[in-house]
């Protein structure tokens, strides 16, 4: 037993040596990506990045050089995510950082990112805490995902537009159910602030939201999964619009528990980052409204979206499950377009090129850079309002990408 153990150790060492020697290549442009590969979001985002890189290389690369994507797993652990940045910067000597998912991991990466100040195009992490940590000076930092407060505001804009089109819809009373972690409580803070503004006739929700209330719940993803006490409070409040900010695992049980206690708001909205597999197949899903960046239905109205979908399915033999797939694709394509435009890898040039780059993305909107509350280079600022109809996600707002009209009111 002892001998075989030594053998195992030795073979590990040998493998380590071989592995470290194999890292030689010519001179590609190196993009370093950090994603949680054990999670579907990170895995598919990585897949989509690989697709984008493959397309770029097929078309002759960038500035005449091939592009190499080097991916390191963050494991959803802050210290691992930070170490990944260090590895990409010092061992692989990448030219650019891309990646996403989890504000907790991203916060731990920010000190390292600030140290290297390489051009960074980050897809995920929506917490305004990350924006605070990055700070106003970081001109090399580009952030694609709308910040938490931007998401909230964009729904206000959306509902205003929808109510204008459909006067029978009323969203005077809003109830927000939020998971008690960072994602949920940040959403709550953002809503509470917007409700405050709306009561003074200001902000995105002015004119539509008159009253607001919230209650927290423990997400099934964190070991909870019993929403009834929260739903009971919602039912007593009797809102026109009920919205929950939680995770995909909460979607169906919460719907079912709402039905069994007889809670039937006119608008039942969910704002998780992703939805469970086959949610649409569940009869409870009909007329559920969702907030998001993307839906497969965009294939009907956007050529880029259609192209992305088909190419992804062809390359990876699976369907993109969440918006992190098209977002990962966008992440690479946008960066590549900026580099192309700059015509060089020189940092200042790439930064100013990216600032003025416009990219028609598979997410159904054009990506362009503008300042947000703190940082200079924010990408998307708006989310979309979608609705499950006949088991499919449809875009109902913004109207230019709408695949159908809203069905109202929600009923069991």
């Amino acid at each position: 037993m002892k001998k075989s153990y030594l053998l195992i150790v030795l073979s590990f060492l040998l493998a380590f040596v071989l592995f470290s020697m194999s890292g030689m290549a010519q001179e590609p442009i190196k993009i370093g990506a950090v994603n949680p590969l054990g999670d579907i979001t990170g895995r598919q985002s990585t897949n989509a990045m690989e697709l984008a890189v493959a397309e770029i290389n097929e078309a002759g690369g960038l500035l005449g050089r091939p592009v190499e994507l080097i991916v390191v797993d963050s494991e959803f652990r802050p210290e691992k995510g930070a170490a990944a940045i260090e590895k990409l910067a010092t061992v692989d000597e990448v030219d650019f950082f891309v990646g996403g998912m989890s504000s907790g991991v991203h916060l731990a990466q920010i000190p390292s990112l600030k140290k290297y100040k390489k051009v960074t195009v980050w897809a995920g992490a929506a917490s305004h805490k990350a924006e605070e940590a990055i700070g106003a000076d970081a001109d090399w930092y580009f952030h694609l995902h709308p910040w938490d407060y931007q998401q909230g505001a964009s729904y206000g804009v959306g509902w205003n537009a929808i109510v204008k089109e459909n006067p029978e819809i009323d969203i005077a009373r809003v109830f927000l159910a939020y998971e008690e972690g960072a994602f949920g409580s940040d959403s709550y803070k953002a809503y509470a602030a917007m409700a405050e503004q709306a009561s003074e006739g200001k902000g995105a929700f002015a004119g539509v939201m008159e009253e607001f209330k919230g209650a927290s719940f423990k997400s099934a993803a964190m070991g909870g999964g019993d929403y009834r006490a929260m739903l009971q409070q919602a039912k007593e409040y009797n809102p026109d619009l009920f919205i929950w900010a939680g995770y995909d695992a909460d979607a169906i049980p919460m719907l079912g528990q709402a039905r069994e206690i007889g809670f039937e708001p006119n608008l039942y909205v969910g704002a998780p980052p992703g939805w469970p597999a086959n949610f649409g197949r569940n009869p409870l899903s009909d007329k559920v409204i969702l907030y998001g960046m993307w839906a497969p239905a965009l294939n009907e109205v956007s050529d880029v979206a259609k192209h992305f979908w088909d190419a992804y399915v062809e390359m990876h033999d699976e369907e993109p499950a969440t918006y992190f797939a098209p977002l990962g694709y966008t992440n690479i394509k946008f960066l590549a377009k900026g580099i192309e435009k700059a015509g060089t890898l020189e940092k200042e040039a790439v930064i100013s090129a990216l600032k003025s780059t416009k990219y028609v993305s598979p997410l159904g909107s054009t990506l362009e850079i503008s300042p947000s509350n703190i940082i200079q280079n924010q990408g998307f600022t708006r989310q979309k309002i979608l609705q499950y109809q006949d088991g499919k996600q449809h875009v109902i707002w913004p109207f230019e990408f709408a695949t159908t009209e809203i069905e109202y009111p929600f009923s069991w």
Partner: protein, 314 residues
């Protein structure tokens, strides 16, 4: 003598490592030292016979004490690391009077429950702590300079190793071994069992607090989810057990081996490396039940007197 020379060489190597390697390797070792210190501190408590599941909890409150002192009071980050340790020590001292009455699984589950209580309190006191989204700091300690950060954690780790050795070389060793073996005999030999339990509980909690504070300053943020993560409980335990408990060398070896393996596996097998990690842990328990350190020691010892091997019972 030979052993001493090896130790000096290893120490010197650890100190000069930053001159020969880059930020990535340093960041791996920084993280290994963090877990190594936690692992040793957990083992020190275990030497009294008390299985603590509170490692993550004291790590977390140390981290929060330090981060909040820097963010709200403008305390110097280095001082705040000491403060983190002090704060954890004070909480441990206060709780110790009640918690240290408990034994075995009751002590274990209570310390684990305390971890959750800490994190719920911190999550709900959002005015002070930033709530679920946490608190960020303007800057990482030493401006994020990996060399300085490395030397800082190395210094802390040496201190923790020193404390662990102190536990091995002084009276304390006799007290805690005695308590672990049989409390009644310990008491009847004049050992103030509670006093020693409290001493060890406070010291190990202080270490955990210091490490938590360091971690918070290294990454310049705290939030309940990351800071009270059960990783800070389970990984140190796994490291100590894989390396070998009741020793100083065991947790060190365990932390180095598991820390390096986990990082290496991740690069080798991007998808599903945790399965292999789990398999390694299971294999170690099955085939090296006393941990790597003691097993290797035995392997060398058995060369001297072959045949005196005691057959393991099947």
């Amino acid at each position: 003598m030979n052993k001493k020379a090896i130790l000096i060489i290893l120490t010197a190597l650890a100190v000069v490592l930053p001159f020969f390697t880059g930020a990535y390797v340093l960041s791996i070792f920084i993280s290994i030292f963090v877990f190594l210190s936690l692992s040793l501190s957990w083992d020190m408590m275990l030497r009294t016979g008390q299985l603590s599941f509170g490692t993550a909890g004291f790590f977390g409150i140390g981290a929060y004490a330090s981060a909040l002192a820097v963010a709200n009071l403008g305390l110097n980050p280095i001082l705040s690391i000491i403060l983190g340790g002090l704060f954890s020590a004070i909480i441990a001292f206060a709780l110790g009077f009640v918690v240290l009455r408990l034994r075995e699984i009751y002590f274990a589950i209570t310390t684990l429950a305390l971890t959750h209580v800490f994190s719920v309190i911190i999550r709900n006191l959002s005015d002070i702590t930033g709530g679920a989204s946490g608190t960020i700091l303007p800057n990482a300690i030493f401006n994020g300079d990996p060399k300085l950060i490395y030397w800082a954690i190395l210094l802390i780790t040496f201190m923790v190793i020193g404390i662990s050795e102190m536990f091995k070389r002084t009276k304390i060793r006799f007290a805690i071994n005695s308590i672990r073996n049989d409390e009644t005999t310990a008491k009847s030999s004049g050992i103030d069992v509670f006093k020693y339990l409290l001493l060890v509980f406070v010291i190990t909690s202080a270490i955990q607090g210091v490490i938590g504070a360091f971690y918070a300053q290294q990454f310049a943020f705290v939030n309940p989810e990351s800071t009270f993560s059960l990783n800070f409980l389970l990984l140190p335990i796994a490291m100590a057990l894989v390396g070998g408990i009741y020793t100083t060398s065991g947790p060190i070896i365990g932390a180095l081996i598991l820390g390096l393996i986990s990082e290496y596996l991740k690069l080798l097998i991007p998808y599903g490396h945790l399965v292999v990690y789990g398999v390694i842990i299971v294999l170690v328990v099955l085939f090296l039940p006393e941990g790597i350190f003691k097993s290797v020691k035995k392997l060398f010892a058995s060369k001297d007197n072959v045949g005196s091997d005691i057959n393991a019972q099947s």
